[in-house]
């Protein structure tokens, strides 16, 4: 009698699993240079397509092409390459340090270096990022001292956070880097609040929020879009889509929508997708969004299409849930190699200089590490004091915490 058949639950699955052949043939990659560059005061409704495409500048030949190209000088690009190489070397050393027991935990950026390194250059001094744990490039590209980062990672006596925070949870107001939270997504809406404050005070500074593909499912992602849309806050809302959230492929968070950028469409917020492994494209799109924000035109949502080449963290082993060679099949390539090629094509770089730079950079990181280790590592050498447990819960220590500190013998 019932004309309807039985319901079934749809549970999205990645195309491949360990043992399968990696396959990204379903990922549509537009040609570099093919996506138009609208004016920053464009009506968002007229550029909905940008949420379903990918803005790219560097083509296969290593040339910068199309309307989003041409914003950065050779010096700036060489500096960008250096930042990405520094971040990669830094990651390599810190991963090793973690394995050696010098700290408890580490999270690397392998394959995603262009996103935060290029983005930082689109901002100005005084602007504020609300990052997640995978944007250390924001600090590196702003010349924040590596030694300080390592002090934090080692939770040593010179750790700016006095041992209180998990490794990589940096903070630097001076460098426009909000204190990282271990709780996902919370910072996305805080970025909107910071931007609203800047607008309330008739300032010229803008904010940037950061979130991972998986974390867009969290509630605070929605709050951020609601408030940004309503008050036209001068904020850049960045989604780093590195295809994975620990073991969970991006289809679980994305659901039936074509892309994460599409989430912006329901809010009248311009939404752009960009090749996250293309330093020039990241910079160009970030710059476009920063200009919009600074011209009081409101928020922009950007999805960076990239790939998490490494494990989620040192506590994770991705071979349990994805093919080991998946990263090699990733069609957008490696951000360092692509920029390197571009600079060689431009005639301002060479294999030799690259190899030499690599060695110098590694040396620089090692020197920094030596300095940091002189202040101690997690289980050896200088360490923050036990007193530090009790300090800083409030501006002034209330009596009950003082009693506890005394009970602890400090």
């Amino acid at each position: 009698m019932d004309e309807f058949s039985r319901l079934t639950l749809h549970v999205p699955e990645p195309a491949v699993r360990p043992g399968d052949q990696p396959d990204f043939s379903n990922v549509r990659i537009p040609k570099a240079g093919s996506v138009p560059r609208p004016e920053v005061d464009v009506d968002p409704e007229t550029i909905r397509d940008l949420a379903f495409s990918i803005i790219r500048v560097l083509n296969r030949e290593g040339e910068a092409v199309g309307p989003w190209a041409g914003l950065l000088s050779d010096e700036e690009l060489l500096a960008g390459l250096r930042h990405m190489m520094l971040l990669r070397a830094f990651d390599a050393r810190m991963l090793m340090a973690q394995r050696q027991g010098k700290t408890s935990f580490y999270m690397q950026h392998l394959g995603e270096e262009a996103v935060s390194c290029a983005f930082r250059k689109a901002l100005r001094k005084g602007d504020m990022n609300f990052p997640t744990y995978r944007q250390a490039g924001l600090l590196i590209a702003d010349d924040y001292p590596m030694v300080e980062m390592m002090n934090q990672i080692f939770s040593n006596e010179s750790d700016p956070c006095h041992g209180r925070q998990l490794p990589v949870m940096y903070t630097s107001k001076e460098h426009g880097f909000f204190t990282i939270s271990g709780n996902l997504a919370t910072q996305f809406v805080q970025a909107v609040g910071w931007a609203m404050a800047s607008a309330i005070k008739n300032d010229t500074r803008v904010a940037a929020g950061w979130i991972g593909d998986g974390s867009t499912a969290e509630s605070d992602f929605h709050s951020a879009l609601v408030f940004a849309s309503t008050y036209k806050a001068p904020v850049i809302l960045n989604i780093v889509n590195n295809q994975w959230a620990i073991s969970t492929f991006q289809g679980i968070a994305r659901g039936g929508s074509g892309t994460f950028a599409a989430r912006g469409l329901g809010f009248g917020i311009p939404a752009l997708r960009v090749d996250g492994n293309d330093y020039l494209a990241v910079y160009a799109v970030a710059r476009w969004a920063a200009d919009r924000a600074r011209r009081n035109l409101g928020p922009t949502l950007i999805e960076y299409v990239t790939y998490r080449v490494g494990a989620h963290s040192t506590s994770d082993d991705p071979s349990a849930y994805r093919p080991k060679t998946e990263s090699e099949a990733w069609p957008l390539g490696d951000p360092v190699l692509r920029l390197k090629k571009h600079l060689i094509v431009r005639g301002v770089w060479s294999e030799e200089r690259h190899a030499q730079a690599e060695a110098e950079i590694m040396d620089e990181v090692i020197q920094a590490q030596k300095k940091a280790e002189a202040h101690g590592t997690l289980h050896a050498g200088g360490r923050p004091s036990v007193r530090d447990i009790f300090e800083g819960v409030y501006a002034e220590m209330p009596p009950h915490i003082r009693r506890q500190r005394q009970k602890a013998g400090y």
């Binding site: 504020m128 609300f130 700016p160 956070c161 006095h162 209180r164 925070q165 949870m169 903070t171 630097s172 107001k173 909000f178 204190t179 939270s181 709780n183 919370t186 809406v189 805080q190 970025a191 909107v192 609040g193 910071w194 931007a195 609203m196 404050a197 800047s198 607008a199 309330i200 005070k201 904010a207 509630s219 605070d220 929605h222 709050s223 951020a224 609601v226 408030f227 309503t230 800083g392 819960v393 409030y394 501006a395 209330p398 009596p399 009950h400 915490i401």
Partner: protein
């Protein structure tokens, strides 16, 4: 008490351009309890405005504003609706100073009407203070009268750390002692109902003794202060009634002094019993006054059930129930 709260924000906004006020219906309309009435007209709509119905967004953006350097004072329409913001309050606001070692701070105030007595049922009557007192990094205030409300709210706004400011809504229009069957009295007839116009502060962390007594110490806050005073009159028991005002940090000294003197103690609150803030008070009293206690400390609280609509007055710990607890403590 509404005028007192409004005056505190008015004075603070007038003195400090970094103070901003927002929340659901607080802009043009001035809030469902009218606590922000007139502030938008006076300070402009970028300093007092309506927010989308998103408590997490309200607190989340306030945290961002505080990181920028503003001093947001936001309203949650009812304390019962703070739960969507609980993550931002407890994992973010409360921890930003600590985790960044002071690189960033979070001087926000979150105002919320709390408590029952207005036939609001289970979603307009809650007293969630214990859910805040368990969270290090927050401060928690519950005023019991207009004079304190204004002075404490100004202190809260000027405080460098996040403050939860719970306003007992049954006190908005008068000093309610639990006798719901009697006509409402206005604040104008109460000595603490008079509120000076300008700027003054009351320190956070200091309790006040509302009634001196020698037989018994009563620890209360908010509406229950008035109920406790009524119970003292009605039982004729010479109770010393402490109005905590600030729950976190707590004025332990005043409590210990009093209980050391009286040897008996009753703790009163409207929130549910189990793991309520009363439990902490009892624990502290027995830790610090054990050898002076002549009887078990008695708790009188809301029952361990949601706040019912029809049976409101069987739920609310009114003067009769509080009085019985006094007797219990005296006769034990």
């Amino acid at each position: 008490m509404i005028e007192a709260v409004r005056s505190a924000m008015d004075v603070s906004m007038g003195r400090d351009e970094d103070v901003v006020v927002f929340g659901e219906d607080v802009g043009y309309f001035g809030g469902v309890f009218r606590c922000t009435q007139g502030l938008q007209a006076k300070y402009g709509k970028t300093r007092c405005f309506d927010a989308p119905i998103s408590e997490s967004g309200i607190v989340g953006t306030a945290i961002g504003m505080a990181a920028y350097g503003l001093k947001p004072c936001v309203e949650i329409q009812f304390a019962d609706y703070m739960y969507p913001a609980y993550d931002q309050l407890t994992q973010e606001a409360a921890r930003i100073r600590y985790r960044s070692n002071g690189d960033f701070t979070c001087p926000i105030v979150v105002r919320m009407p709390t408590g029952g007595g207005i036939f609001g049922g289970q979603t307009h009557s809650q007293s969630p203070e214990a859910l805040f007192t368990h969270v290090c990094g927050l401060k928690v205030i519950v005023p019991s009268n207009p004079y304190d409300a204004k002075g404490l709210l100004i202190s809260a706004i000027e405080d460098p750390d996040p403050v939860m400011f719970l306003e007992p809504k049954r006190l908005y229009n008068g000093p309610f002692d639990g006798h719901h069957e009697r006509p409402v009295t206005a604040w104008s007839k109460h000595e603490l109902g008079e509120v000076p116009e300008g700027h003054y502060t009351i320190p956070i962390g200091k309790a006040e003794i509302r009634r001196k007594g020698s037989a018994l110490t009563v620890i209360a806050y908010g509406t229950m202060v008035h109920v406790a005073l009524a119970a003292a009159e009605e039982t004729g028991i010479d109770a010393e009634v402490i109005d905590l005002r600030s729950l976190l940090p707590l004025d332990l000294e005043t409590i210990v002094q009093s209980v050391t003197k009286t040897g008996r103690c009753v703790v009163v609150h409207e929130a549910t019993l189990t793991s309520g803030f009363g439990a902490e008070l009892v624990a502290l009293v027995q830790e610090h006054c054990f050898y002076h206690l002549e009887a078990p400390v008695v708790r009188v609280t809301g029952w361990d059930t949601p706040y019912p609509h029809a049976q409101e007055w069987d739920y609310f710990p009114g003067p009769a129930r509080v009085g019985r607890a006094f007797t219990e403590a005296m006769e034990a």
